[in-house]
Amino acid sequence: MKVIYTDSLVIGGGLAGLRVAIASMQRGYDTIVLSLMPAKRSHSAAAQGGMQASLGASIKGEGDNEEVHFEDTVKGSDWGCDQDVARMFVNTAPKAIRQLTAWGVPWSRVKKGDRQVVINGKKVTITEKSDAHGLITSRDFGGTKKWRTCFTSDGTGHTMLYAMDNKAIELGIPVHERKEAIALIHEDGVCCGAVVRDLVTGELMAYVAKATTVATGGYGRLYAVTTNAVISEGIGSAIALETGVATLGNMEAVQFHPTAIVPVGILTTEGCRGDGGLLLDKDGHRFMPDYEPGKKELASRDVVARRMTEHMRKGKGVPSRYGDHLWLDITLLGKDHINKNLREVKEICEYFLGIDPVKEYIPVRPTQHYSMGGIKTKPTGESPNLKGLFSVGEGACWDMHGFNRLGGNSVAETVVAGMIVGEYVADHCAATSLNINTKLIEKFVKREESKLINLLNRDTGENPFKLKKEMQEIMMDKVGIFRNQADLETAVEELKVLNQRAKNIAIRNRISSSNPELVEAYRVPKMIKLAQCVAYGAMLRTESRGAHAREDFPERNDRDWLKRTLTSWPSEDMDLPEVSYEELDIMKMEMPPGSRGYGVDNTIHHPDTEKRVAQINEIRSANPDADRFEIQELLNPIEIPEKFKGKNERLGRGFK
């Protein structure tokens, strides 16, 4: 049995995982990254439009700061996020982006003087200040008060990932490619590594570590149509669930992006609308202002996606052989702008649709895009139930997004959380010594080995590809953008049946080395379990919050549902996850629940909300001279690793 020891094992080579590995290495700990493929191919590369950080250098970002970013993020989350974490995030984001600048990201920069932009369908000239020339610029995105989304054309994720992976290469961090973690090794509430399968040779081995960080991204592929990469199957979250100890948070919180192309579901960035693109219906009518007179096309994603669906249900969609869709019109932005700032979008349109977006409208419709749920962690990134297990990025429920993530906050989370959690991982490595019995390692490797042997030996049974398709259809049809009790109940029942059938998978290609069917065979049962967590959580949550929209319970119900869903799977024999809830304490919130300022406000308020508002007003009036930093400290003191505590400088304002 091959056993590999390290201090900090990172599962997943995207932005978040690499950042944790870098932090571990820089603090002097041995680290190994496991990746299904070369790290630079991770789904982080697909982030197009940008990263939010309140630098405020562009004229349209003027006045931006951590407070404004915090408010936008909390409103975006529909008050479902952990405000401590959102705070850690907004305060650290400017540092993360500045670090990436030093590491080589060629962020688009402010150019002094006049430039023409499109705002609300009209051409407008804005003038950038000369003292901002050469600083990182930003564009508008949905649900933000300021232009805060920093970008590199529309290849932001690509340039961030390349800079990050290059940094990891500089530091000599080994990335073990084509290796898949298929189970976590743990005992008595402590995680000490993973059972890993070599996807080429089929060899099983154990990686043993003081800290194990799961950074495997989202679970978009539970759905039939998604913008996500084919590897975004949630396997990292699933192996945490299968420990029976670690919990997953808010799995029912699944985001649909308004503008993926029809039919293949490839994303066109929110930057299209941020830069002035419009949504049109079959009559060429710009319908978003009818529903959202304030933010129009730039309300938060959950709201825009629902409005689009609502509008199509009224018969205003454009019929096609793939069902109805709407149009995204970026023709008004002009050729130069599209060629420079939306070139990936242009390539996608040319190759997959055979159209030129400079002249033609893009067929779009809301499509699964982001998983707010994931492995539940503390603000340090560690699982509250399983010591030594950390999680970061989309695969985690660190919980800065609550029930809806703002565009530009996801790549931002990967690098900011990677930075912060990376420090806590290193602290953990410093404070922990590994005390592990090789019998335990053997037990886990043997267990996985026998599962694989069973799969290889079974003569007849279920086809894993078919099971996956059935699951994806159920999720698509019944656990989608609008949800209701009847559909969700059916979904929960149907998924239960799939779970049973998945215990009897048989494969045709019965070899243990490189074998895509075998991979499918061991992943699909894991995916079905995750799907059950999503569907069951959605069925139980009888309210609407952020991306979780119940037709039968349209109100956001703070009184009964201001809480985080936690799912676990304590025993293999269970055919449903165990669900519990964790209250969000309003009395500790820096920003008590209120109206988002877009979408429909029909909130059923919690009695504490009024109390907390009064309390905050008292604190504010008792401290009339306190600046925003002191107020934050009074309202909600939070912990941030020492090295990231400093105030952030901004143009024309210094450190204020």
């Binding site: 820089q26 630079k40 590491w103 490619e177 293949v264």
Partner: protein, 244 residues
């Protein structure tokens, strides 16, 4: 896109080096074409319905990640964004990218090659102060046009098509190739990287470097991202020739 249904014929190289005694052979699979079908869709259909052992790599399936380079009817390209409607006779031959270690069928190990390339050209910002930057302060300014130009050269997705299209690489195993030259060009343009031309000369100033290029420019012809290989190779050569 045509509405008329036709049957496509995929001729695919099959070989699994993991299996003792396996020998390379071409196998043909028939697939009924669907509107908007890409090679990504077709290969998955073959795997799911006809031959579950078929190996290939796709990740983003949107032309962004660079995983799916393969030789399609003689030309290296990204399979995910290649529409089957592009081939009027419906005959599509697929081979793995040459120049890389074969994993199986259409899957090759570009990762190992690219990591070595990155280590060889030291594909990172060389600035001893980079790790001591005060993250609280305003970032270093950069000319906006320079930033745009760097991005132009950084659009490489390491798909490996340039390697497979390179005759020099075929004759000279240690040849750095276009992907490496582009990376050097990107860093030499970046004011944050403090390396001088003579530092770069150490990396590419020989026949395994930029002077070995026979200027056949398959890289330019087949780069899926239309990167300016020709210009950059010429430019680097000129620059390197001037290094004393």
């Amino acid at each position: 896109m045509s509405d008329q249904e036709r049957t496509l014929k995929f001729h695919i190289l099959r070989y699994n080096p993991q299996l003792n005694g396996d020998t390379p052979e071409m196998k043909t699979y028939e697939v009924v074409e669907a509107p908007g079908m890409t090679i990504f869709i077709a290969l998955n259909e073959i795997r799911e319905n006809q031959d579950p052992s078929l190996q290939f790599d796709f990740i983003c399936r949107a032309g962004i990640c660079g995983s799916c380079g393969m030789v399609i009817n003689g030309a290296p390209d990204l399979a995910c964004r290649t529409l089957t409607s592009k081939f009027p006779d419906g005959e599509i031959t697929l081979l793995p990218l040459p120049g890389f270690e074969l994993i199986g069928d259409l899957s090759v190990n570009t990762g190992k090659f690219m990591r070595q390339m990155s280590e060889r050209v030291e594909s990172w910002i060389h600035d001893k102060y980079a790790d001591n930057v005060d993250l609280c302060r305003l970032e270093e300014r950069m000319d906006p046009d320079t930033a745009d130009e760097i991005y132009e050269l950084e659009r490489c997705v390491e798909c490996g098509c340039c390697i497979s299209a390179c005759a020099t690489k075929r004759m000279r195993d240690g040849f750095l190739s276009a992907v490496g030259f582009m990376r050097i060009a990107r860093y030499s343009l970046d004011p944050r990287d403090k390396r001088s031309d003579s530092d770069f000369y150490e990396i590419i100033g020989d026949d395994d470097g930029v002077f070995g290029c026979m200027t056949l420019l398959g890289c330019q012809d087949y780069c899926p991202k239309d990167l300016p290989h020709q210009t950059q190779i010429a430019y680097l050569r000129r620059k390197m020739a001037l290094v004393k």
